[in-house]
């Protein structure tokens, strides 16, 4: 797994430009059969290799100044998320306050990238965050299962966008994907992308339900071909959620997409990332697999809620020279 490349020989001829797709990719999306041929023609993922590489990179020791940098970078990449049935406007408002100023004692802490809520709470979040630089992301398309018809999904998306969401996190129809109806999934992503307008589209693959790395690679390419600005691992409602090897496969996909088209697309692992140590491991993976230019909130995000508190505690530990505790950060 030394060279993370999935590009077939036909694709490498593609010229880096953000205009029309290079011929090989344009051919892939021509019709259902060629899409299937393209996705099944992707090289298989070496499971042992990718897991070993992920584990190997996870052993890197990041300390002192580098750790502080990593913590601040990770804070700036957090999509502070609350996706509970019990969410209230009050909870979203307090979350927004935390997003603006994560550590009130230390104003130098950067704000997070975005808050992520259900569509009906977008308006509340937007009102709190307007002009702060913190985005508002909304899940949509019958989150988390994606089990509804396209009309409902489009209305769901429209509702979020009308309320002012700057980012939309859609879920793919895993049932259709797993039964091989790639064209349906492709069209659905395209339709949602069109409904998003200026809002960024993150496509949730729900890798926990895709079962194999090969499927993750296919779903990643499918989402990229259909125009997703980000590919996101999971909803957070299914276990396993984000894992390092899965994120590796997805980072390879955006890296190779950039190689063949010149476009930069993002990755967002979500769910199960709770500690600073985990977050730093993901940053190492981003740097090594995709490349240093992905180390920015516009191309890499963490979908998380409890991670932020751990990052803040670690930041204090680094600066104050003693271990911090949850009594000193806000309760979620």
């Amino acid at each position: 797994m030394a060279a993370p490349s999935t590009t077939s020989s036909a694709e490498t001829t593609g010229t880096p430009a953000s205009g029309p797709l290079p011929p090989a990719l344009a051919d892939a999306v021509r019709d259902d059969a060629s899409l299937r041929r393209f996705l099944h023609g992707l090289p298989g993922v070496d499971q042992v290799g990718v897991e070993q590489r992920a584990a190997g990179l996870a052993t890197r020791s990041i300390k002192k100044a580098a750790k502080l940098w990593a913590i601040d970078t990770a804070i700036g990449m957090v999509d502070l998320t609350t996706l509970e049935g019990a969410d209230t406007e009050g909870k979203v408002r307090s979350l927004a306050a935390k997003a603006r100023r994560p550590d009130p004692d230390r104003p130098d802490v950067p704000h997070v990238a975005a808050v992520c809520v259900y569509p009906d709470l977008v308006a509340t979040a937007v009102a709190e965050l307007v002009g702060t630089g913190v985005g508002v992301a909304s899940v949509a398309t019958a989150f988390p299962s994606g089990r509804s018809n396209r009309q409902v999904k489009l209305i769901d998306t429209d509702m979020a966008v009308q309320a002012g969401a700057s980012e939309v996190d859609m879920v793919i129809d895993r049932g259709a994907f797993l039964s091989g109806r790639y064209g349906q999934v492709f069209e659905e992503i395209q339709a949602i992308k069109a409904a998003c307008g200026d809002a960024h589209l993150k496509v949730i693959l729900e890798t926990g339900e895709l079962a194999t790395y090969d499927n993750v690679r296919r779903a990643s390419w499918l989402a990229l071909l259909a125009g997703g600005d980000f590919i996101k691992t999971s909803t957070g409602k299914v276990s396993p959620a984000a894992t390092l090897p899965v994120t590796h496969v997805m980072l390879q996909a955006v890296h190779d997409w950039h190689e063949s088209t010149g476009e930069l697309r993002g990755v967002k692992p979500a769910g199960g990332i709770r500690t600073t140590k985990d977050a730093v491991r993901y940053l190492v993976a981003v740097n090594e697999v995709a490349g240093p230019q992905w180390l920015t909130p516009t191309l890499f995000r963490f979908g998380a809620s409890s991670l932020l508190n751990d990052l803040l505690m670690q930041r204090r530990t680094q600066l104050e020279g003693h271990y911090s505790g949850p009594d000193y950060v806000t309760v979620d």
Binding site: G321, H322, Y323, S324, G325
Partner: protein, 288 residues
């Protein structure tokens, strides 16, 4: 079996969160008896082990403090039963560590088990002694109830390796706090055996976390740790006390300034139980 059987040299591990991990640092040190003869290897905990132990104790706190006092009492009695079962091992280790005759070691172990039972009995009685129904000049009921402090860092006595340890450990967990114990540096074996007893008893993992190693290395990290709510200085070297108190003052923390050279055989009072309790007063309107 032949007489020249190779002895199994033990390398003990730490007791953190109900498991027995090696020290994160990979270090260990030799434990010797009072004459300098080799007894075993013990793990030499690092500051990161102390940090992990504090997180384990914090995680265990809601469950343990939320358990009924009666239930905590039953769990602690069960520990005493298991200590009784390990009596011979404790006697040998106390004799080896403290250099006392077997007879004396036996009476120390007996006293330690009795001490444990004594504290187990206090679990469901302490609230009636330290709590109160306060008379107030208004139409209110006013109650004061004792509540556990939280995570307590205990520096166990350096000399009295079992009786002293039990005397500082049992009162902490009896009232519902959880703890990180730094055992006697030169005499850790009875503490290690006690953690094996705790692991096989009904005490939930993380309620007691036992670290062996250098007290002077671990204590400052525990004293300054913001998620530790109380610090027991009993086993601290005198030279370190002022520094530890200073470090503890940077975070909200109770500090018990007990000396290490006490007569542990003496029957205690409830002072140590009271040390890790907070008084919560509740005003409740009277019905009309």
């Amino acid at each position: 079996m032949s007489d020249n059987r190779v002895t199994v040299a033990k390398t003990y591990k730490l007791y953190v969160g109900g498991a027995f991990p090696r020290s994160e640092s990979g270090r260990s040190y030799q434990v010797t008896d009072h004459k300098g003869g080799f007894l075993a290897n013990a793990a030499q905990a690092s500051r990161k082990d102390a940090r992990d132990a504090v997180s384990a104790a914090r995680k265990a706190f809601p469950g343990w403090s939320g358990a009924t006092a009666y239930n905590r009492g039953q769990v602690l009695y069960r520990v005493a039963e298991l200590m009784e079962g390990r009596r011979e091992q404790f006697v040998a280790e106390v004799a080896g560590a403290e250099g006392v005759a077997i007879k004396r070691a036996q009476s120390i172990v007996d006293a330690a088990i009795d001490r444990w039972v004594w504290y187990a009995g206090w679990t469901d009685k302490i609230a009636t002694v330290l709590g109160a129904a306060n008379p107030v000049a208004g139409p209110y009921f006013c109650f004061t109830v004792p509540e556990p402090t939280g995570v307590v860092a205990v520096l166990a006595p350096q000399d009295s390796s079992l009786l002293g340890l039990v005397s500082v450990l049992a009162p902490v967990i009896a009232t519902g706090s959880t703890c990180v114990v730094v055992s006697s540096q030169e005499r850790p074996l009875p503490a290690i055996t006690l953690s094996e007893v705790l692991a096989t008893s009904d005490v939930p993992g993380g309620v007691v976390n036992m670290l062996t190693g250098r007290t002077t290395e671990l204590a400052p990290w525990l004293a300054s740790h913001a998620d530790v709510n109380a610090l027991d200085l009993t086993g601290s070297p005198d030279s370190l006390r002022a520094d530890l108190e200073r470090a503890a003052s940077g975070t909200v923390k109770r500090v018990l300034r007990a000396g290490g050279d006490q007569d542990w055989a003496r029957q205690p009072d409830i002072g140590r139980l009271r040390a890790y309790l907070e008084a919560k007063t509740v005003w409740h309107p009277m019905g009309v």
